[in-house]
C-alpha cells in the first residue's frame, strides 16, 4: 500500500506544531512569580537595597547560603567600622548568576570577599546538566532578563529541559497568583524577615535548631573529598568576574567556605583541592584569606544543613576570618 507524501510532511509539521505550542506556553510563564522562588527574590531585593544605600566603599560578602549563614557582616562592621553587606543567598543559583548580581551593586572602591561553596567552583555558566531546578525556577519567574541575556544555546537548553509541572505551575500562577505561604518550603527560618540590615541571616541560634535536624546527616556529606574536575567550569566564570572587578577598581579577596569536620579533609585529595583553589586565586592576584582548615568546624556548630553555621558559630568563624581580613579593610581599597 502506497504511503502518501503528506504523511512525511505531517511528521515534520507535527514536530513543529508541538514545539510551537510548547514554546508558547514557555514564553507565557516568563516573569510569572512562583512561591518557591520568593525567598531568594526577597532576600536579594533586601540586600540590594541595603547595598545601594551605602555610598562609601563597602565590603560585600559573596557566596551561597554558606556565606549567608556562615559569615557575619554585622560583626565585621562592628569590629572594623567598614560598611559591610552579606550578599550570600543560595549556591543553587550558580556561580555566574551569583556574580552577575554582585556586578549590579559593586561600585569602584568596593571590596568583594568571595566565600564560594565548593560546588560553585565546579559549576560555571548555566549548564543544564548541573543547574538546579531552583535556579531555573528562579530565573524564569524572578529574573527573565537574565534568561534573555543567555546565549541562544543556553536558552534552548533551558527551554528543552524545564519540567512540564513547572510550566503548568507557571500558567496556573499567571491565571491566579499563588498565595503567600506562612512558612517557606525550606523551613521557617528561610524568610526575608529574618535578614537584618547588613544582609545577615538571623534566628539560627543553636537553641533554635529544628529538632528534626540530625547532625550525623550533616556530617555524612562529603563536600570536596574527591577533588575538583580537571577544568572546573567555575574557574572561567570567576576569572571573568575578577577581570571585570579589576577594570572597575573593585578589589577581590577570597576565602574558603565553612564545612563540617570529616577525616577525609586531612587527606591528600582535599589538600590538593584547597591548593588548586589557592593557586587559582593567586594566579589572578586575588589574596586568599586563611587556610582551608580554618573553615572546618565541628558538627555541633552547624545549624540545619551542610555549610549552614549557627549564629554563634558564624560569629566565631567571622572573628577568625577578621584576623586576615582586617588589614585589607584598614588600608581601604587601594587597588589602582
Amino acid at each position: 500500500m502506497k504511503i502518501p507524501w503528506k504523511f512525511f510532511a505531517a511528521l515534520a509539521a507535527g514536530f513543529v506544531l508541538v514545539m510551537g505550542f510548547y514554546a508558547t506556553r514557555f514564553f507565557l510563564i516568563l516573569g510569572v512569580p512562583t512561591e518557591s522562588s520568593r525567598w531568594c527574590s526577597e532576600i536579594y531585593e533586601k540586600k540590594r537595597l541595603a547595598a545601594e544605600k551605602i555610598t562609601a566603599p563597602k565590603l560585600l560578602l559573596v557566596g551561597g547560603s554558606g556565606t549567608l549563614f556562615g559569615l557575619s557582616a554585622t560583626e565585621i562592621q562592628k569590629q572594623t567600622g567598614f560598611p559591610t553587606i552579606n550578599y550570600g543567598t543560595s549556591a543553587a543559583l550558580d556561580t555566574d548568576y551569583i556574580l552577575s548580581r554582585v556586578r549590579q551593586v559593586a561600585k569602584p572602591g568596593d571590596t568583594v570577599l568571595l566565600c564560594l561553596e565548593y560546588e560553585l567552583y565546579v559549576h560555571g555558566k548555566l549548564d543544564r546538566a548541573t543547574a538546579t531546578d531552583i535556579f531555573i525556577d528562579y530565573i524564569l519567574s524572578r529574573d527573565p532578563a537574565y534568561f534573555y541575556s543567555l546565549s541562544p544555546l543556553e536558552k534552548w537548553n533551558v527551554f528543552m529541559t524545564i519540567s512540564s509541572q513547572r510550566v503548568k505551575q507557571g500558567l496556573n500562577n499567571r491565571r491566579r497568583p499563588e498565595r503567600r505561604a506562612d512558612t517557606n518550603i525550606y523551613g521557617s527560618v528561610y524568610d526575608s524577615k529574618f535578614i537584618n540590615e547588613w544582609g545577615d541571616q538571623m534566628n539560627h541560634s543553636l537553641a533554635s535548631r529544628p529538632a528534626s535536624v540530625k547532625i550525623s546527616d550533616i556530617q555524612r556529606k562529603l563536600v570536596f573529598g574527591d577533588g575538583l574536575p580537571e577544568h572546573p567550569a567555575g574557574f572561567e566564570v570567576i576569572t571573568s568576574f575578577c577581570e571585570w572587578a579589576r577594570a572597575n577598581h573593585i578589589r577581590v579577596l577570597a576565602t574558603f567556605p565553612n564545612i563540617c569536620q570529616r577525616p577525609e579533609y586531612n587527606q591528600p585529595p582535599s589538600q590538593q583541592t584547597a591548593k588548586t583553589i589557592t593557586d587559582f586565586f593567586t594566579s589572578l592576584d586575588v589574596p586568599v584569606l586563611g587556610d582551608y582548615t580554618e573553615s572546618i568546624l565541628p558538627p555541633d556548630q552547624f545549624y540545619d544543613t551542610l555549610y549552614h553555621l549557627t549564629d554563634e558559630a558564624s560569629i566565631v568563624r567571622t572573628q577568625r576570618l577578621l584576623k586576615h581580613l582586617a588589614p585589607y579593610l584598614k588600608n581601604g581599597n587601594r587597588q589602582n
Binding site: 500500500m1 502506497k2 504511503i3 502518501p4 507524501w5 503528506k6 504523511f7 512525511f8 510532511a9 505531517a10 511528521l11 515534520a12 509539521a13 507535527g14 514536530f15 513543529v16 506544531l17 508541538v18 514545539m19 510548547y22 543544564r128 537548553n157 528543552m160 529541559t161 519540567s163
Partner: protein, 514 residues
C-alpha cells in the same frame, strides 16, 4: 550507541541512510558493503576492542559452514560441525559464565578461585545464537551455500546485532542476496513509524517507571521491609517496564531494518494478553522461543516421547533459557519456574482433553489469562532481583508475610479509599522511602496496563503495510493508515522524546545486558 540516543537518531542513522540512498541499488553489493561497514562502526562505537572478536566469530563460522558444505556426507563434516558449535559455546561460556562457574565451584568446595576481569562483549549471546542456528541448518541441509558478504551482512546488520530479533538465514538472506537492494516509500514510511512507536514505548513509557522499579528493588536489596502494595506495584511496574523496553527495542529494530527494505520476523505479539503460559511463550521474545524450540527442544525429543522425558525436555530448555539471559541463580530459577509452569499447563491440557471438556467460556479465558499474568509476575521477581535473598524479600512482602500493608503516601487512611482499604484489612504505615507521586505512578501504570491488555500491538496497527514477515491480524480500530493524521501525532510525540534527550541521558535497554 543506543537506538534511543541522540547520536544514533541524529547522526548515525541519517548518515547511514544518506549513504545507502546515494549508492545505486543495482548491483546490491555496494549497498551491502556500506551497511556492513556502518554496522561494524555501530558495534565498534561501544568498544572497538571487541570488533576483532565479532569478526573472528563471523569468519570462523563461515569457514565451518563452507567446510560442511564442501565435505557433505563425509564424517569430517560432522566433526567440524560439532567443533564449530562447541567453539561458539566455549566462547560464549568463557565471556558469560566463567565467573559464575568459579563462584559456584568456590561455594561448593569452600575455596576462593578468585574472579576474572572479563567484560561481557555486547551482543555475544545474540550473534552466537544466530550463527549456531546457521551452522545447524547448514549441517542439516548440507547443500546450503551463501556468499561471505551475504553471510557477514546477515550476522552484523546493525538493527538486530545487539539484542535481536534472532533472525534465521532463510528468512533474511533471500531478501538481499539478489541483484538489487532497495527501499521504497512504503518501506521508509513503515520503517519510520515502527521505529518511532518503539522509541515512544521505550522513552515515554518504560523509562518513566524505571526509577520506581529501581527504588523498590534497591530497597529490597538493602534489606528493607517493603509494604505489600509496593512489592506488588514494583513487580507490576517491572513487568511493564521490561515489556515496553524490549518490545520497544524490537519495534525499533524492525523499523530500522525496514528503512533499508528488509523485513524482520515478529518478536512480540501482545504476550500479556496470553490465555495460558504456552501462549505467553508463543508471544514473548518469539525469536528466542523458536530458536530454543527448533535447536534444543525438538532435538531433545520435544513432546514425542515418554511423559517423564517430555518434562525433562521442557525443564532443560527453560533452564537453559534462564541461563542464556544471565549468569546467575536468579535467572536459572526464573527459567525453572517457567519450565514448571509449562509442565503444569501441558499436564492440565492433557487432563482437560482426556475428559473431552471444551472450555470455550469467556470466564475461563479471563481466569486463565489472569492466572497466567500473575504467575508470570511471580517469575519476574527472580528475573529482576539481583540475588536470591532480594527475591525472597520481595516475595515475602508480596504474599503478605509482612502484613497487608500500604504507605499513607498512596492514599490517606481517612480518605474514602483509605477507609475502604482499612475495612478490607489493609494496614497503613508511614512512607519508608522517597518516591515520586503515587498518584502519577498508578495513573501511568494503569495507562500502560490498558495499552498491553486492550490495544492492538504495533504490527497489528500496521497490518495493512505488513511490517513483519508474519501476517498480522488487522484490528477493527487503532490501525494506522499512515495518512497526515498519523504523521501529525507521530511527529508531535517525537518532540517530547527530543526533550527527553536534554533532561536525562537515555537508559540502556534491559536486554543489552544479555
Amino acid at each position: 550507541m543506543l537506538f534511543s540516543s541522540s547520536q544514533f537518531i541524529f547522526l548515525f542513522l541519517p548518515a547511514t541512510l544518506i549513504g545507502f540512498f546515494l549508492i545505486p541499488a543495482n548491483p546490491a553489493w555496494p549497498r551491502k558493503v556500506w551497511l556492513l561497514l556502518a554496522s561494524v562502526f555501530f558495534y565498534a562505537y561501544w568498544k572497538v576492542e571487541y570488533v576483532p572478536l565479532l569478526l573472528f566469530s563471523i569468519c570462523l563460522n563461515y569457514a565451518v559452514a563452507e567446510f560442511i558444505t564442501r565435505h557433505r556426507h563425509r564424517p569430517a563434516a560432522r566433526v567440524v560441525f560439532v567443533t564449530g558449535v562447541s567453539l561458539n559455546l566455549l566462547l560464549l561460556g568463557y565471556y558469560k559464565y566463567t565467573n559464575f562457574i568459579l563462584g559456584f565451584l568456590g561455594r561448593v568446595t569452600e575455596h576462593d578461585f578468585g574472579r576474572f576481569d572479563i567484560l561481557l562483549p555486547l551482543a555475544i549471546s545474540f550473534f552466537t545464537f544466530t550463527q549456531i542456528g546457521y551452522l545447524v541448518d547448514v549441517y542439516r541441509n548440507q547443500s546450503l551455500h551463501h556468499r561471505f558478504l551475504d553471510y557477514a551482512f546477515f550476522v552484523v546488520f546493525f538493527p538486530h546485532l545487539i539484542a535481536g530479533p534472532i533472525v534465521r538465514h532463510w528468512e533474511i538472506i533471500p531478501q538481499f542476496a539478489g541483484r538489487t537492494l532497495r527501499a521504497n516509500r512504503e518501506d521508509i514510511g513503515v520503517g519510520i513509524t515502527m521505529f518511532l512507536i518503539g522509541l515512544y514505548k521505550k522513552v515515554l513509557l518504560a523509562d518513566s517507571i524505571a526509577s520506581y522499579v529501581t527504588m523498590v528493588y534497591g530497597e529490597a536489596a538493602a534489606g528493607a521491609t517493603l509494604t505489600w502494595f509496593d512489592a506488588w506495584l514494583g513487580t507490576l511496574a517491572f513487568a511493564l517496564q521490561i515489556y515496553f523496553d524490549f518490545s520497544g527495542y524490537s519495534d525499533m529494530a524492525i523499523g530500522l531494518a525496514r528503512l533499508f527494505g528488509i523485513r524482520f520476523p515478529m518478536n512480540f505479539n501482545s504476550p500479556y494478553k496470553a490465555g495460558s503460559i504456552t501462549e505467553f511463550w508463543k508471544s514473548w521474545h518469539i525469536t528466542l522461543t523458536r530458536f530454543l524450540r527448533e535447536y534444543l527442544y525438538f532435538p531433545l525429543g520435544g513432546n514425542r516421547c515418554a511423559p517423564l522425558r517430555h518434562v525433562f525436555n521442557i525443564m532443560a530448555t527453560m533452564l537453559l533459557s534462564g541461563l542464556w539471559h544471565g549468569a546467575g541463580w536468579t535467572y536459572v530459577i526464573w527459567g525453572g519456574l517457567h519450565g514448571f509452569y509449562l509442565v503444569v499447563a501441558h499436564r492440565w491440557r492433557l487432563f482437560v482433553d482426556s475428559y473431552g471438556w471444551r472450555l470455550n467460556f469467556w470466564w475461563y479465558r479471563l481466569l486463565s489469562a489472569t492466572l497466567t499474568f500473575v504467575v508470570v509476575l511471580f517469575a519476574w521477581v527472580f528475573f529482576r532481583a539481583s540475588t536470591l535473598p532480594v527475591a525472597g524479600n520481595m516475595l515475602s512482602s508480596m504474599v503478605g508475610r509482612n502484613g497487608l500493608t500500604m504507605t499513607d503516601a498512596v492514599t490517606h487512611p481517612e480518605k474514602p479509599l483509605g477507609l475502604f482499604l482499612t475495612r478490607a484489612g489493609v494496614h497503613f504505615v508511614p512512607k519508608t522511602f522517597a518516591t515520586e507521586s503515587y498518584s502519577d505512578l498508578t495513573k501511568l501504570i494503569l495507562v500502560m496496563m490498558v495499552i498491553v491488555l486492550f490495544l492492538p500491538n504495533t504490527q497489528q496497527m500496521l497490518a495493512d503495510h505488513a511490517p513483519v514477515l508474519e501476517k498480522s491480524e488487522r484490528p477493527r480500530s487503532w490501525h494506522l493508515t499512515l495518512g497526515w493524521r498519523d504523521g501529525l501525532v507521530l511527529g508531535g510525540l517525537f518532540f517530547w522524546v527530543v526533550r527527553g534527550f536534554y533532561i536525562a541521558p537515555p537508559s540502556p535497554f534491559i536486554y543489552f545486558h544479555f
